[in-house]
């Protein structure tokens, strides 16, 4: 019985130590490494991928902030924009690049390559804010598409940050491991304190 208590107690203190290390990692501030912003008009049934394109690792994140005065689809694709046009050129060799700016081609690309969508959201005359954490080293392209028949004015701001580890995940792990470790360590700690009091 006493050995079980020691085993559980020491497992608890180890979990507590790991939790504290994770907490420390999550407290290391993220560094802002780049920002891109602008105001654009997007024609009816048109899409664009020129807003932001980069390579991300799991130690980087993208904070997206997009507002529009109409309906706008926001996509974060895990490919380079060249790949999208390459796919379109391959499948529609008789069309030119201007034709490809029609949303129909983008939708066809997305239907054929759903795995490339890292995140998507539809704005209805308002804004959206999102922080994207990749789970592998990947390309990232911000794609905005106007599915309506009206001109849309949009504003976007993309901020890239570098961090030691995905803060959200690490913080969640720390908030679980610390209390569990603490609870497991209580009986063992109480035993030690009792033994010391008896000695004194």
């Amino acid at each position: 019985m006493r050995r079980w208590k020691i085993l559980l107690g020491r497992s608890g203190t180890v979990l507590l130590a790991i939790g504290l290390a994770l907490l420390l990692v999550s407290l290391i501030p993220a560094a802002q490494t780049g920002t891109s912003m602008g105001t654009q008009h997007l024609g009816p049934k048109r899409w664009g991928s020129w807003y932001y394109e980069t390579i991300l690792t799991p130690q980087q994140s993208l904070r997206l902030n997009v507002t529009a005065n109409g309906t706008l689809n926001v996509y974060l694709l895990e490919v380079r924009s060249f790949s999208i046009y390459d796919w379109m050129l391959e499948n529609y060799p008789d069309r030119d690049l201007f034709d490809f700016s029609n949303v129909t081609y983008l939708e066809e690309y997305l239907n054929a390559n759903p795995a490339t969508i890292g995140w998507q959201h539809q704005i209805q005359n308002g804004g959206v804010e999102y922080e994207y954490y990749p789970t592998k080293t990947t390309n990232a392209t911000l794609v905005l598409s106007n599915p309506t028949s009206d001109f849309i004015q949009l504003e976007y701001r993309v901020t890239m940050t570098a961090q030691v580890a995905p803060r959200g995940k690490v913080q969640t792990l720390a908030t679980w491991t610390i209390p569990i470790g603490f609870l497991l360590a209580i009986p063992w700690t109480v035993d030690i304190l009792r033994a010391r009091t008896k000695k004194d």
Partner: protein, 270 residues
């Protein structure tokens, strides 16, 4: 009969655990493993092959924690086992109804097994937190990288154990272990230099027998970067060749451990 043999083994194991991981040694090392794993993680370019990304991530995660792991096992084997011999505690264990090889196994299970379990569980969990899509598809590469990087520390542990048994004290064995650990870094650099100067892979091949992460590094660098990479002109090991060097290194590790076991079972006396 089986129960009678199991209980003394557990007694020796429990006693070894108590000695090797007094509070807060285990907690301190767990903290350092977790912290070091995240702080030293780095990723290579997206244009690289998936195996290369997995290899370089695993290798980068190990930079600091592996060094901490080596300190822990050196302490456990040289200091822990050495002080047991010096203080005569080992005589108590030898009086148990247990064969000598089981006494040594229980001590090593505590000194190496628990340290290795803690090291690997923290590292692999951290990898899943950091980049699950890198670890999942390339688990084989990740495991291979660990196996290759752990070969030399295990060889040093076996040498330290053998020296501790022969000298009946851990301090000298500990110094030899530390010297051998740092010597590998110097010898690896020298071997690379000699290989480039002579345009012969022999020096790198010799080092790879003792430290197979050299051959694995060469294999993955060549694999990912292509034949333009300088090392490719000297040595482009195949995957099978890398596995052979890995196997050879573990044969050496097993041979040194076996020698220590035989010495402890047949020749060791206080």
């Amino acid at each position: 009969m089986q129960e009678r043999k199991g209980r003394p083994f557990l007694e020796v194991f429990a006693s070894a655990l108590h000695e090797d991981y007094r509070f807060p040694i285990l907690e301190l090392f767990a903290f350092l493993y977790a912290l070091g794993t995240f702080v030293f993680a780095s990723f290579v370019s997206v244009s690289a092959a998936g195996e290369l990304i997995a290899y370089s991530l695993t290798a980068s995660l190990m930079i600091f924690p592996l060094f901490t792991f080596i300190i822990l096992i050196f302490k456990n084997v040289a200091y822990g086992f050495g002080s047991d011999i010096e203080k005569g505690i080992i005589q108590t264990f030898l009086s148990y109804p247990l064969k000598r090889r089981w006494v040594l196994s229980a001590k090593l299970l505590s000194a190496l097994g628990v340290a290795l379990l803690l090291f690997l569980s923290i590292q692999i969990s951290a990898m899943y937190v950091l980049a699950p899509d890198v670890v999942g598809p390339y688990l084989g590469t990740v495991i291979l990288t660990y196996v290759a990087n752990l070969s030399y520390p295990l060889l040093l542990s076996a040498i330290i154990l053998f020296l501790t048994l022969i000298l009946r004290r851990g301090s000298i064995a500990l110094v030899v272990g530390i010297v051998l650990y740092f010597a590998l870094g110097i010898v690896s650099s020298l071997a690379s230099f000699i290989a480039f100067a002579t345009q012969s892979p022999l020096a790198l091949q010799v080092i790879s027998v003792f430290s197979p992460n050299v051959v694995l590094g060469m294999y993955y660098q060549v694999f990912g970067v292509g034949p333009g990479f300088p090392s490719a002109s000297i040595w482009t090991p195949s995957f099978t060749e890398a596995l052979l060097y890995l196997g050879a290194s573990y044969v050496i590790v097993a041979a040194v451990f076996a020698t220590a076991y035989i010495y402890f079972s047949r020749r060791f006396s206080l």
